[in-house]
């Protein structure tokens, strides 16, 4: 064997070893990679794979219904439709064009909106958000109005309109020879209103009253873009507006538009629109702050209750969202349930818990009567309560707003109109404090009787004015009432009598009784309320520019000065007087009922304090209040009713204001007094208390009184005056939860 051969053998062995080592090293690297992926990070990757395949869908809870005491629906849920587009399915520009084109015709979409959508899709694709649906349009028209949720009626002969995507206007076709506006019905009949043509060419015209636009051609102004035909086949009986059923149109062509889906949500619907807007409140989009505060409870586009019961009972009404897990394969199709359970660990579905239904103590029929009673007045409030239990039967504030509009597509115009309205439609005046005037005299009376300053026999001569501290305080009757005792003072609403006893009581004693009657304190209503003010010497010393003046006592004793009280507080003070001295908490919510019909909360009569006034004294005051209406000299004698007995107290509070920039009529309105009237009936066993407040309404007996009388008559008709042992108290049958037992 040669040396060469031997070296060759060694060489052979070496390259075998080197090559094997090389490949072994490569394979070890692969093995190490497997170890890293499967052993060290196996759990992690399994989890990542799981998460990427699973999408969790939130199931919104059904919001609780709001009903009145008889079960009438005050707030319910209507279906609301939107269109979404998942960018992934239209990632190629030509697909996108086809889908957007179809949507543009069906919805229709303006060119600007279409371009905006196109941009959004591209952005989503670029930012790895191809699977997140983009909202194309909300509040689509189906068979309910997108404006207020009310039902729409099909039109026998649909109205063909031509939509221009450039200026976003729907034109109605018209004959070039036409000279008068056609009717909305599309039946070819014209009205007397002249049609205004844009120019000589007679291509476009406007109907001035309705603002509707007309065209004789088939192209947009400018002649470049073709008009898109759009059939309007629904009409809103309320507004006369015509719509096309967008949901039906899109649904019919869904298969031609990959990635497009119709999204259904609930929206709040208030069948009574304006009737109880302040009471119920409205809903709108949750803010980022609120989502932060109640972490996890609200999704991005959720709505939350604003004002009224919707806000006060937001939590029970809301319910809890559920969750459904979907496993998506690489093509975005939902996979079979077996995989879901495997990946999700059996928890594929978590049902949503519906919100609880709220039953109110309100009677919507009475509420409606209250609204009608206010027909001739611009601004004011009324509250009807039961004196024994503090249940609120009606709570009304004028002017109001349509909860549906505020919960839905609120336009800037609507917002501006409402917020700039001088009669403040958004303020619930029933829980807003104003100067109460003479209705406060029951407090002064009770204080004087309890402290022995006045007895039933005490008479004070009223010359029409009262001189005090170098100042003359006038009675509302400048010629004087002559000698009056307490009942006469109430009946005649004699100010001088109260100046006198007020002076003897002193400011702080008067304030003390004010608080006993519940003034300056919340009434317990769940809605936001302002508590008003019962001034004391200290308060005046701190807040009045000249400091404490003894004359303030006199103003306060007749319900003027710095004293303020809301209609709800006035109602409660009367309730305390009439039910034997219990200051009951006012309540509007009767009970909460969950999905299965179980009562989860049942509000009962609650007393927050007592008047500490003897029964003889309270009865004496009631005699005075009785005479107000039933004595020929009484300030409210005009209001006397025949079928039953009604008592009450008038109030006329000076409230002249000056507001900068006010129109002449508004300025005049502002100079008027606040008119108050508190009525209760029947006089011997009061079942309802009605407080009517007319803001700048003038005389209490002339303006607030008739409203209160009308409401009392309505309450009588609805059976509320029959009392506990009466033949038919409404609510008895529908109210098996012990309301009557608590009386």
């Amino acid at each position: 064997m040669s040396a060469l051969h031997r070296s060759e053998l060694a060489h052979q062995r070496r390259r075998f070893a080197v090559t094997l080592t090389l490949f072994t090293a490569l394979f070890v690297a692969l093995e190490a990679r497997f170890f890293y992926l499967q052993i060290l990070h196996g759990e992690d990757f399994r989890e990542r794979a799981r998460i990427s395949a699973i999408s969790s869908e939130r199931i919104p809870p059904r919001r609780g219904l709001i009903r009145d005491r008889n079960g009438e629906l005050l707030a319910t849920n209507a279906a609301s439709f939107g269109v979404e587009l998942t960018p992934h399915y239209v990632s190629r520009p030509e697909q996108r064009d086809v889908v957007l084109e179809s949507l543009q015709v069906l919805l229709p979409l303006s060119d600007a909106r279409r371009a905006e959508l196109n941009e959004k899709i591209e952005e989503a694709l670029a930012n790895r958000k191809a699977w997140e649906p983009i909202l194309v349009a909300r509040h689509l028209v189906s068979d309910t109005s997108p404006e207020h949720g009310g039902p729409l009626k099909p039109i026998d002969k649909p109205l063909a309109t031509l939509y221009c995507p450039v200026d976003n206007v729907a034109y109605l076709p018209i004959d070039a020879k036409a000279s008068n506006c056609p009717t909305d019905r599309g039946d070819g009949v014209t009205t007397r209103e002249p049609l205004v043509w844009d120019d000589e060419s007679r291509r476009f015209a406007t109907c001035e009253r309705s603002g509707r636009r007309f065209t004789t051609g088939l192209t947009c102004p400018g002649g470049q873009v073709e008009l898109i035909p759009n059939l309007k086949n629904l009409r809103d009986a309320k507004t006369g507006e015509v719509y096309s059923n967008q949901v039906a149109a899109i649904r019919a062509r869904l298969h031609e538009m990959p990635g497009v889906q119709i999204r259904t949500d609930f929206r709040r619907y208030y069948p009574n629109h304006y009737e109880a807007a302040h009471l119920l409140g409205y809903m709108n989009r949750v803010t980022a702050d609120e989502r932060e505060r109640w972490r996890g409870m609200y999704a991005l586009n959720d709505v939350i209750g604003r004002t009224g019961v919707e806000q006060a009972l937001e939590h029970p009404l809301r319910g809890e969202a559920g969750r459904a897990l979907h496993v998506r394969d690489a093509k975005g199709h939902r996979s079979e349930s077996q995989v879901i359970e495997e990946l999700a660990g059996g928890q594929a579905f978590e049902r949503a818990v519906a919100g609880q239904d709220v039953w109110l103590t309100i009677d919507i029929k009475l509420q409606e009567e209250v609204r009608k009673a206010f027909r001739y007045y611009k601004s004011g409030a009324a509250i009807v309560i039961t004196p024994d239990t503090g249940e609120v039967l009606a709570l009304y504030s004028k002017p109001g707003f349509d909860s549906n509009i505020w919960s839905g597509r609120l336009t800037k115009e609507e917002w501006d109109n409402t917020t700039s309205n001088p009669y403040t439609p958004l303020i619930n005046k029933a829980v807003t404090p104003y100067a109460p005037g003479s209705v406060y005299k029951i407090v002064t009376s009770a204080a004087a009787l309890t402290d022995g300053i006045a007895t039933p026999e005490t008479t004070i001569d009223c010359p029409g004015h009262y001189d005090f501290g170098g100042r003359r305080f006038h009675c509302h009757n400048r010629s004087g009432h002559g000698p009056v005792n307490l009942t006469a003072a109430l009946k005649l609403s004699c100010d001088v009598y109260y100046y006198r006893i007020g002076e003897m009581l002193g400011m702080d004693r008067l304030a003390e009784f004010g608080r006993r009657f519940g003034f300056g304190q919340p009434t317990g209503l769940p809605t936001r309320e302002r508590t008003g003010r019962v001034p004391t010497r200290t308060w005046h010393a701190e807040h009045t520019s000249l400091g404490w003046q003894p004359g303030f006592t006199l103003s306060t004793s007749i319900g003027q000065g710095s004293l303020t009280a809301s209609p709800a507080q006035v109602a409660r003070s009367f309730a305390a007087l009439l039910n034997g001295g219990d200051l009951v908490r006012l309540r509007i919510v009767d009970r909460l009922v969950d999905e299965e019909g179980r009562v989860t909360m049942n509000e009962r009569r609650e007393v927050s304090g007592t008047l500490d006034v003897s029964h003889e004294h309270m009865d004496l005051i009631r005699v005075g209040l009785d005479e107000v209406v039933n004595d020929p000299d009484g300030t409210g004698f005009d209001l006397q009713v025949t079928d039953f007995s009604m008592s009450g107290k008038t109030g006329t509070a000076e409230a002249a204001q000056v507001r900068a920039g006010a129109s002449e009529s508004l300025a005049r309105w502002l100079t008027e007094d606040h008119a108050w009237f508190t009525a209760y009936a029947p006089s011997h066993d009061p079942q309802v208390i009605i407080v009517v407040f007319v803001e700048h309404g003038g005389s209490g007996s002339k303006h607030a009184g008739p409203i209160a009388k009308r409401i009392t008559l309505a309450a009588e008709k609805l059976g509320y005056l029959a009392g506990a042992d009466g033949p038919e108290a409404p609510g008895d049958d529908d109210d098996p939860y012990g309301l009557e037992e608590t009386r």
Partner: protein, 383 residues
């Protein structure tokens, strides 16, 4: 001697069993992948294995001297096929790799791998046998100027395949050629120079457009998994590739130690793994069979490599040794690149995994290679 002899014989039996086992794993994987995707690649793959088996037997029995003599013809046939593919090939996924002959699609680039091995083996063999003064070229002392001829020979198929474009296969051809050449031995200075020029060539190719933009994207993704590109013209985001590799990595990791079990791979079931039957089949396999299955698979491949190199070591002549090295280098490099790519170690290049991936040309070529290897093994030392 006899005991050692028996042991050696036993190695070949084991190797044969390993090949059979790998084929079985292949069919099992195809069957499972079919179950996920609802296709039927399994039946076709069975057909390919039957044809491959025939080729395997033929290749293991044929006289290697005939093979040596016919190598240039075979190589020329491959080149012809590639040229025809370039002109008349079918385009799939922007790449022209298939030639339709008698109603069947052939991938000549697969065959070319073997062609290159054969032509190189013959060239080195001839060089040694016929060079005037064989001693003039010492073992392991080839210099570049000695190798101009084989380099030129390899460059033709390399460029033809690169322009299809098929980066993976052309890369394998280079690696196999380099492996064979290194096995034969290079002059030390030449070795350094080649390594250096490689370091220079890559950036040059990157800058001058020798590497295509989509290939660059894959490298960018490999370097930075969060990288993605938005194509303003088509609106397509070049992240599909990214997701593909990411999903494959998740699938492999999801297998953990024991695997999810056959047909229970959720990534595979939800079709998150594209090319499930071909390039990405390892992801499905790894998800189902876990670390254990992967380790077994790697060991089987390693054993093949070991057996191939051993066979080369014991081969009766230069040609046989280099055919064995080349054949096993084809398997070894493809295994490394494919698994490395699926497992996220390497950029994504289209390349099948020997045995497991579905493919007629690839399976038949693979069985041909292994048949030749067995042929060399059986005729070792005998002249």
């Amino acid at each position: 001697m006899s005991r050692r002899h028996i042991l050696q014989e036993r190695v070949h039996v084991v190797a044969f069993m390993v090949i059979a086992l790998l084929a079985a794993i292949s069919l099992l994987s195809q069957r499972n992948a079919d179950w996920y995707s609802g296709d039927d690649f399994y039946s076709l793959q069975v057909v390919w294995y039957i044809i491959g088996g025939v080729i395997f037997v033929l290749a293991s029995l044929i006289d290697l001297r005939i093979v040596e003599r016919l190598s240039p013809v075979f190589f020329a046939f491959c080149i012809l096929g590639l040229v025809l593919t370039a002109f008349f090939g079918t385009e799939v996924n922007n790449s022209q790799r298939w030639l339709r002959v008698f109603g069947m699609n052939f991938q000549f680039s697969e065959l070319t791998k073997l062609g290159v091995v054969l032509i190189l083996a013959r060239w080195f063999h001839m060089r040694k046998e016929r060079a005037p003064g064989a001693a003039a070229i010492h073992e392991g002392a080839y210099r570049i100027r000695d190798l101009l001829q084989p380099i030129a020979l390899c460059l033709v198929p390399f460029l033809l395949i690169l322009t299809q474009p098929d980066l993976g296969t052309s890369l394998v051809i280079v690696l196999v050629a380099v492996t064979v050449t290194l096995y034969e031995g290079l002059d030390r200075r030449t070795l350094v120079m080649v390594a250096l020029s490689g370091l220079v060539l890559v950036p040059v190719a990157w800058e001058t457009g020798g590497i295509k933009e989509y290939q660059k994207d894959r490298v960018r993704l490999w370097v930075n998994p969060d990288w993605f590109k938005f194509d303003a013209d088509t609106g397509v985001v070049a992240k599909g590739r990214h997701l593909q590799s990411e999903q494959a990595v998740w699938a492999i990791g999801s297998g953990k130690f024991w695997g999810r079990g056959s047909r229970d791979g959720t990534q595979s079931r939800l079709k998150y793994l594209p090319e499930m039957h071909t390039d990405m089949i390892l992801a499905t396999y790894a998800e189902e069979q876990g670390f254990v299955g992967c380790t077994v698979l790697l060991f089987l491949f390693w054993f093949l490599v070991f057996w191939g190199l051993r066979t080369a070591h014991d081969a009766r002549d230069r040609f046989c040794a280099l055919v064995a090295v080349g054949a096993i280098a084809i398997v070894g490099w493809q295994v490394f690149i494919n698994i490395g790519m699926v497992a996220g170690l390497l950029p994504i290049v289209g390349l099948p995994l020997p045995f497991l991936s579905y493919g007629g040309s690839a399976t038949v070529m693979l069985m041909g290679c292994l048949g030749l290897l067995l042929n060399v093994a059986l005729h070792r030392g005998r002249l």
